[in-house]
């Protein structure tokens, strides 16, 4: 099979699955889970093939395909992958089947799985787009399934409100992105002539004067900062993460958050190298604010889901910190951290979901001493938590370390401040662990705490395995993303900008 067809199939397949589930009412209940899981696993196999077929030192964008959708509007299908997008497509393909199998909904299963599959299509489509407008289409499309997942299967009372807030907030952020995209395209058309195009490679040659560039990078970054989220645009995220069903929290934190930071990597660096350097200090400030604010508020959260939401905020702060460092260590560390955070946060939200199911509480608060009756659950939580803290030997360490090296290269001793965030993360996670798992057993009346069953264990195993493997041997992934990062940073050099040389080679 030609590999560009494989990439197209990866985008289309889950959407087709969602359509089948939507149109065939008989696939209700367990059958829906089976169908959904089959499609998601087929997608995973496809993504694995894509990753295996990807040559790190080959063409910059591989498996490329172009197709006209609506020429007068400038709407084209342009897809292709580099090392960064392959990694994130693989992440998507890993997370979705785990979300489907790990946390199936009891009622209206068919619809919930349909939305998850549509979300997978939209996410893979976003990562595969080499056309800014096409990216925006998929970027927006993710909102709809995410909205319905939170509103339909989240907390009965507060879910709809949280979903609405998520939807409207994100859409307002996208308003600026959308207009920014159009402005870049029309500027390019006025400079280069010809038909209206949104092709990333074409637009990257647009000349922007100082102010225009800064305004455009702000417009783009507004949408990405909301989606990531980044302080102070994060206010939707604690609500959305904590009121969503388990599968919803997983896809929100593990996948949708990555769309924001991916946007910064892919579009801000490629389109506005000069302006990104200009606004760099401001983004550093926001990233550090996210890290510190997320860590401090997480310390004060009594509910585990909210704690994870704020911890995610801090982690995404690290990602942005790495990207804006604009050197090899920083950017590749950030990309690796996006992957690692996706894996770790999936495991953590699943575990919290398992815990919530056992205690019958939507908020995990006021329970103690779980490790007695459920040692395996506690052990899994420990591993995931340690990976999140950044313990050497687990995957979180490598990426956070690279990000901090990159930031040191860019800003010197300022690195002390984000490092504080790492320490506070250890405090609040260990604190939470102490409260929930250690001590004498306290559970709500009538709750019986059992250990993880086979299905729950089997969805966690691959996640824990990835944490260990990438903790010990990160080269597996780094070798594949580094050439793409180098190429990305070449945009800066081509623009006559010198970046601090924290190389990895």
């Amino acid at each position: 099979m030609q590999s560009s067809a494989l990439l197209i199939a990866l985008v289309v397949l889950p959407a087709v699955g969602a359509g089948v589930l939507a149109l065939v009412p008989r696939l209700e209940g367990r059958v829906a889970t089976m169908v959904g899981a089959t499609i998601a696993i087929a997608e995973l196999v496809g993504a694995a093939l894509l990753a295996i077929g990807y040559h790190p030192n080959g063409a910059v964008f591989q498996d490329a395909s172009t197709q006209v959708l609506a020429a007068p509007f400038g709407l084209f299908w342009r897809a292709g992958v580099d090392g960064i997008s392959v990694l994130l497509i693989v992440l998507t393909a890993i997370v979705v089947p785990i979300a489907i199998l790990g946390a199936p909904e009891r009622h209206r299963t068919r619809a919930s799985i349909g939305w998850l599959l549509l979300l997978e299509s939209a996410t893979v489509g976003s990562f595969a787009s080499l056309d800014v407008l096409l990216f925006f289409l998929f970027f927006e499309l993710t909102l709809v399934p995410a909205y319905f997942l939170i509103a339909g299967w989240g907390d009965q009372r507060r879910g709809p409100a949280a979903a609405m807030k998520f939807f409207v907030y994100t859409l307002v952020g996208s308003a600026f992105l959308f207009v920014g995209i159009l402005v870049v395209a029309f500027l390019h058309q006025s400079q280069a002539g010809g038909a209206l195009t949104f092709s990333l490679t074409a637009l990257s040659s647009t000349h922007l004067n100082g102010t225009t560039g800064v305004l455009l990078v702000l417009a783009f970054t507004a949408a990405f900062a909301v989606k990531s989220p980044l302080f102070p645009f994060h206010t939707w995220s604690p609500d959305a993460y904590s009121e969503a069903p388990v599968s919803g929290s997983v896809v929100l934190a593990a996948l949708l958050a990555k769309l924001g930071t991916y946007g910064i990597v892919r579009f801000d660096i490629t389109l506005f190298p000069h302006a990104l350097v200009t606004v760099g200090p401001w983004l550093f400030a926001l990233a550090i604010a996210s890290i510190l604010y997320g860590a401090v508020v997480a310390c004060g959260s009594s509910d585990l889901k909210r704690l994870l939401a704020y911890s995610s905020l801090a982690q995404m702060g690290f990602v942005v910190l790495g990207i804006v460092s604009l050197n090899q260590a920083g950017v590749s560390g950030a990309v690796l951290l996006m992957f690692n955070h996706g894996i770790v946060t999936t495991a953590l939200f699943l575990l919290v979901g398992f815990l919530a199911k056992r205690t019958g509480l939507s908020l995990v608060t006021g329970v103690r001493g779980i490790q007695g009756p459920a040692p395996i659950l506690a052990a899994c939580f420990t591993v995931a938590m340690l990976a999140s803290i950044g313990l050497p030997g687990l995957n979180g360490f490598v990426s956070e370390f690279l990000v901090l090296i990159g930031f040191f290269g860019a800003q010197g001793w300022w690195v002390v401040i984000p490092t504080l965030g790492v320490i506070v993360a250890a405090i609040y996670l260990l604190w939470a662990y102490q409260q929930v798992f250690q001590g004498t057993l306290v559970t709500p009346a009538g709750a019986s705490i059992s250990d993880l069953d086979v299905r729950e264990r089997s969805v966690l195993v691959p996640l824990l395995a990835i944490m260990v493997v990438l903790g010990v041997y990160p080269k597996l992934v780094l070798d594949r993303i580094l050439p793409s990062v180098v190429h990305l940073l070449a945009h800066l050099h081509a623009a006559g900008l010198t970046t601090t040389s924290v190389g990895l080679r």
Binding site: A22, P25, V68, L69, A70, A71, P72, F73, G74, L75, A111, L133, F136, L137, F138, E140, L141, V144, Y147, F148, A151, G152, R157, R158, P160, A161, A162, A163, M164, K165, F167, V168, Y169, L171, V172, S174, A175, F176, F178, V179, L182, V183, F186, L187, S190, L196, H234, T235, W236, P238, D239
Partner: protein, 540 residues
């Protein structure tokens, strides 16, 4: 002795008006000649056949234009160009779909007779005339023919006092707006000595008016007249009341054909006749567009009656088309045409669903609670229609918004960019109220005792307070006790009686609205190409 020269007539061009008028008069004659009441399904049949004939004529005109280029006929007051053909096509399809929707409604309400169809046929003949007119007087004729039918249609439900009130309101305000429009024509004539758009453009491009005041005032009055018709803010106050009071199938029809007819005419007047006067009219259109988009979307969020909500949403849609009008470019004209084509289907489909769901006369959002459980297909169609109106990607609604915003941003100046941002913010706000309904349709039916004391919540407080609460709810970090979405308790119990099946004709109409919305949303090329090509054939 003076001889009156009969101008040459290109009959293929005015065939649509002839077909529809003949059908209307024929139906009227038949109903007076046939003993007893003529069955309404006869009217539906005739209307659909007439619409099909118009569509065939459109194809013939398209071929004619492709061969010979755009032209004028009847002493240059009627135009045959790609733009008018596509507008007529949209109007004919809207007519046929509305007739199918109305058929189910007439049967349900046990209204015999063909009067509704006669009036609808006449109205569309007027709208088509507006789309083809190349002369301000002919535009006015079309406007009146269209409006008079609609005034009566608004009052069609004679048993309902609200329907009568709506019609009276529509008639009075419509009458005023027509008068203002005519005065605008008079002032333009006074300034330039002609009412024909081609001559107007020639005159203005070869002469410099020493005093712009008269022409500017005329242009402003013309715009006010149009703004009343398409319900653009601040000339919109009639529309929620009229939408709420009029019979539901009529509302969808009204919303579609008035917007298509009036926008087709205003595009021609501004983009062709008064093109050189852009500096005068573009600021006015800017204000109309920005206000319509924001006020329409904002007010829709606080409505509890589904028809009022859709009325405000349609005000917001008018703002989007005005955006393309403001652009005053070929791209803008094509985008406006595309927007109108998609909007017509979306609005007719949406009101068709409302017609079916509100069979028991309940139009508040409560009646949508749990709709998916009772009628999965209907709920699914409504979801698609509302999501498309919200501009979700891979529906025609997204492409329509993309087109108009592109046309505004193409100017690359601050005003265009600002309008683009306003449009997107309005889209975000509109996502709120469309999705609220969609979620309600999928929510489990909750039975709450109707006597429960109502706490002063969002739903009962004043609109301004509700808007403020919504805004702060979106921005603040912790809305755990905020009130973003109405809770079950605020609604009454879900409707108990819900046994009627969807009439076949209505189901066909809804399917005909939903399927293209998705199909062309994904496979967008043909429709976009058609409107763009149609605009390239715009008569200069």
């Amino acid at each position: 002795m003076n001889t009156v020269a009969i101008p040459s007539v290109h009959y293929i061009v005015i065939l649509p008006e002839i077909i529809l008028t003949v059908a209307a008069v024929g139906l009227l004659l038949a109903s007076s000649l046939v003993p007893g009441r003529l069955r309404s399904s006869v009217g539906t049949g005739v209307t659909v056949i007439a619409s099909a004939c118009v569509v065939v004529d459109c194809v013939a005109q398209w071929v004619d234009i492709s061969r010979h280029g755009p032209s004028t006929t009847m002493a240059h007051v009627i135009i045959e160009d790609g733009f008018s053909v596509v507008a007529i096509l949209v109007l004919a399809v809207s007519l046929a779909l509305s007739a199918l929707v109305a058929d189910g409604w007439l049967n349900r309400e046990r209204i015999e007779g063909v009067e509704l169809h006669v009036l609808a046929l006449a109205s569309v003949a007027g709208a088509i005339m507006m789309a083809q007119a190349n002369d301000l007087v002919v535009i006015f004729l079309g406007l009146e023919i269209m409006s008079i039918g609609l005034y009566v249609l608004a009052a069609f439900d004679r048993r309902s006092a609200r329907s009568g009130e709506a019609a009276m309101k529509y008639f009075l305000l419509g009458g005023f707006s027509s008068a203002i429009f005519v005065y605008g024509i008079a002032l333009v004539y006074g300034a330039t000595g002609t009412t024909q758009l081609g001559q107007l453009a020639d005159f203005l491009s070869t002469n410099v008016l020493r005093n712009q005041g008269l022409l500017l005032a005329g242009t402003a009055l013309l715009l006010v007249g149009f703004a009343f018709k398409v319900a653009a803010v601040p000339f919109h106050v009639w529309s929620p009341d009229v939408y709420e009071g009029s019979p539901t199938p009529v509302v969808g029809f009204m919303a579609a054909i008035v917007k298509v007819g009036a926008f087709a005419a205003v595009l021609r007047v501004l983009a062709s006749g008064l093109f050189t006067q852009q500096d005068g009219w573009r600021p006015m259109v800017f204000a109309l567009a920005a206000l319509s988009m924001l006020v329409g979307a904002g007010m829709a969020t606080v409505q509890r009656n589904v028809k009022r909500m859709l009325a405000y949403s349609s005000i917001s849609h008018a703002g989007f088309v005005l955006l393309a009008l403001w652009a005053a470019s070929p791209r803008g004209t094509a985008a406006a045409l595309f927007y109108l084509a998609t909007y017509a289907l979306l609005v007719i489909g949406s009101f068709a669903v409302v017609t079916v769901v509100s069979a028991d006369g309940r139009e508040d959002l409560t009646s949508y609670r749990g709709l998916a459980k009772r009628r999965p297909l209907l709920a699914c169609s409504f979801t698609v229609l509302l999501l498309a109106q919200a501009g979700v990607p891979f529906t025609t609604g997204f492409l329509a918004k993309l087109g108009v915003i592109e046309s505004a941003v193409e100017h690359l100046g601050w005003p265009g960019v600002a309008l683009g941002v306003i449009a997107m913010v309005a889209t975000a706000i509109s996502g709120y109220f469309y999705l609220r309904v969609v979620v309600l349709t999928y929510a489990a039916p909750v039975d709450v005792s109707p006597t429960a004391p109502a706490a002063p919540t969002l739903a009962t407080s004043r609109p301004a307070a509700r808007l403020a609460a919504l805004g702060s709810g979106i921005l603040l970090e912790d809305t755990r006790d905020g009130e973003l979405v109405d809770h079950a308790e605020e609604y009454g119990p879900a409707p108990a009686r819900d046994d009627a099946t969807v009439p076949l004709a209505t189901a066909v109409a809804i399917a005909a609205c939903v399927v293209p919305t998705v199909v062309f949303g994904v496979w967008a090329g043909p429709l976009v190409e058609l409107t763009t090509r149609a605009t390239m054939l715009f008569h200069p």
